[in-house]
């Protein structure tokens, strides 16, 4: 386990580990042990995780491997038993709640809202960390909301009520809300699960656009490993609450990984996009 004392000093200048390329980390988890009040054993033990600045990192792994738990602790939703998380080199416990939410946005897996809430009102809630307790909307809020609505492509449903939207449309509305938060780091927990292919691609395209145009650092939990390999710059593969491998998709997605982590015998071909073909039925 890494020594705690060093973490402060090293978090700033830490570089990418396995492929050797120098990449500054936007978000770093150091010597994390995570558990829920109901669990006896730690759910996740992770010596080091880096989310490189300005890149898209996908967390993959089978159900129950601790991806969402790890993401929650990176987003300050779950405080670790031991270890620490650093955002821009500063421990996230030192951030005040609103200041943190101006730097890092999180879209959870499940969210509920009053059914009569309109999409536009939901997106305006994304401005919460930028406003003081009694403050009214100002020009900045308005612009950020318009940009988010435009980027997420929900202009045509902005006056509709959330309760009347399809799953894909409401997911895009929630993404627009996180975009209005206007953060440099964005964490998304399974944003494409339960969506049809069209909406899956819409969501990923929006995230990609945000990353390319505004340099937003993204960490996203994805279920489909082939999709993750096509979409992300880096993959983090998790198994049983530990990091299995980390690096560019081509290096991470191997037949060995599929066999070890997902217990699937499959061939991996790059054509040039990765293709995963099971060798036989399970």
């Amino acid at each position: 386990m890494a020594q705690h004392g060093e973490a402060d000093a090293t978090a700033d200048e830490h570089t990418g580990v396995e492929d050797g390329s120098a990449r500054e980390s936007a978000l770093t988890g150091d010597a994390l042990e995570l558990s829920y009040p109901t669990s006896e054993e730690p759910v996740v033990e992770c010596e080091r995780i880096d989310i490189p600045r300005g890149e898209i990192t996908a967390l993959v792994g089978p159900n129950g491997s601790g991806k969402s738990t790890l993401l929650k602790s990176l987003a300050k939703q779950l405080s670790p038993d031991t270890g620490n998380v650093y955002l821009d080199g500063k421990s996230i416990t030192e951030y005040d709640d609103k200041a943190f939410a101006r730097e890092l946005g999180l879209l959870s897996q499940q969210h509920d809202s009053p059914t009569s809430l309109t999409v536009e009102d939901l997106v305006y809630h994304g401005r919460y960390p930028h406003r003081s307790f009694f403050e009214q909307v100002n020009e900045d809020d308005h612009e950020a909301v318009e940009r988010a609505i435009d980027l997420a492509g929900v202009e045509h449903i902005r006056d509709k009520q959330i309760g009347n939207l399809s799953g894909g449309q409401s997911q895009l509305a929630w993404i627009a809300m996180v975009l209005a938060q206007d953060t440099d780091v964005l964490l998304l927990d399974e944003p494409t699960t339960y969506l049809d292919l069209h909406h899956q691609l819409r969501v990923l395209e929006t995230v990609r656009q945000l990353n390319e145009e505004r340099g937003v650092t993204v960490a996203v939990v994805l279920h489909d490993i082939a999709q993750a390999a096509r979409f992300a710059d880096y993959l983090v593969a998790m198994q049983d609450g530990e990091l299995y491998d980390w690096g560019p998709p081509r290096e991470v997605v191997t037949e060995e990984l599929l066999a070890d982590v997902f217990r699937v015998e499959a061939a991996v071909n790059y054509t040039p996009d990765p293709e995963i073909v099971p060798k036989h039925s399970l």
Partner: protein, 371 residues
């Protein structure tokens, strides 16, 4: 679109965000409520032991000797000796109207308190009394009347304090690395059950039927005998609570998005939840101090308003400010005049009206229970 410059467009939109939420349903709800309050008030000032015609009553209401005399208002709002007024004016302005004002204040406070608690606990069945407030107030009322009868003059204050004490106790019980809506409600049930038993137990030590009646009037809620004194007692706290509730509507809306989303948006959720509960308890305490524990208003009114204007708290709080007084003033007409000359505690009437309305809601709505 092409005719306006971008800045004009967007500042129009900011204005739109500031006032665009006021919609037809809210305006009609408020107007309808106002009509109920005015008609209820008219009935209240016209009928009673000293009878006068409606015309006479209204002339007394608009008596220029009162309306345009700052000195009279000063006496009403700050206390003191009234100057000479005609007999009718005196009865209307000093006896009958203050009761209507107190009813309106109590209704507004209870409705707002209930609306806040429904967001904080994310439970549509929450009322101002869900976190032990009523049982704490009730226990202190009984203790004061039965054991510490020397303190009876401070009864309103003690009742309010009892409610606040119970609320703090509920919070302490529910706290375990933070709270959650479910734990708060359960702690409220625990404290409520114990205090309720103590309260019922105390009744056995009362031999005087007058004390029993007084205790029942306080614990079911009554406006009998209220005058400007009660207005003076409740008004400052009501203004503070209502102001804070109006200003907090956005916080309440964000709470409705769920704890996780609220936290990821940077809300310090424990602080906000405690502060908002504090506002709700303040509103409830102000109404307890002048009218005792009036049931059902705080539960039913936010429901009714939500049915009409939707769950946006900007609209909901404003709607409650009008609909609460309407229900309370109307119920008090029944309480005062239905069995004339006997006056019922107004809490009996709100229960009788609120229960069936709730039944109607339950049968009509599929998804009752969702905020």
């Amino acid at each position: 679109m092409s005719g306006t410059t971008p800045t004009e467009q967007s500042s129009g939109s900011v204005l739109n965000r500031l006032f665009g939420w006021i919609d037809g349903s809210l305006v009609s709800l408020c107007l309808a409520s106002l009509v109920v309050v005015v008609v209820g008030g008219l009935i209240q000032v016209s009928f009673g032991a000293f009878s006068m015609t409606i015309g006479e009553a209204w002339r007394a209401v608009f008596d220029p000797a009162v309306i345009f005399d700052p000195q009279v208002w000063q006496v009403f709002l700050l206390g003191g000796e009234l100057p000479d007024l005609s007999r009718r004016t005196l009865i209307v302005w000093n006896i009958r109207l203050p009761r209507v004002f107190v009813a309106a204040l109590v209704g507004a406070n209870l409705a707002i308190s209930g609306a806040i608690f429904q967001a904080v606990t994310r439970n549509e069945l929450a009322s101002p009394f869900i976190l032990g407030v009523s049982s704490g107030a009730g226990l202190l009322i009984l203790l004061t009347l039965v054991v510490f009868s020397g303190l009876a003059a401070y009864l309103p204050l003690l009742a309010a304090l009892g409610g606040m004490f119970a609320f703090v106790l509920v919070y302490l019980i529910a706290w375990k690395n933070g709270t959650s809506p479910v734990r708060l409600v359960l702690a409220g049930v625990i404290v409520g059950t114990v205090f309720q038993s103590l309260q019922t137990g105390l009744f056995f030590f009362v031999d005087d039927i007058g004390v029993v009646q007084s205790a029942i009037a306080w614990t079911t809620g009554s406006l009998t005998g209220t005058d400007w004194e009660q207005v003076r007692m409740a008004l400052p706290w009501s203004i503070i609570a209502i102001g804070l509730a109006l200003g907090s509507s956005r916080q309440l809306n964000v709470l409705l998005l769920g704890e996780q989303t609220a936290r990821s948006l940077g809300m310090s959720i424990e602080k906000v939840r405690f502060a908002l509960s504090g506002v709700a308890v303040l509103a409830a305490a102000a109404s307890i101090a002048v009218a005792g524990i009036v049931g059902f208003v705080g539960l039913v009114v936010p429901h009714l308003v939500r049915n009409v204007v939707g769950s946006d708290y900007k609209r909901l709080v404003v709607g409650c400010l009008f609909a609460g007084p309407a229900l309370m003033v109307a119920a008090d007409v029944g309480a005062r005049l239905a069995l004339n000359p006997v006056q019922l505690p107004v809490g009996v009437v709100t229960g009788l009206v609120g229960g069936p309305y709730f039944l109607y809601l339950m049968r009509k709505q599929q998804n009752i229970g969702e905020v």
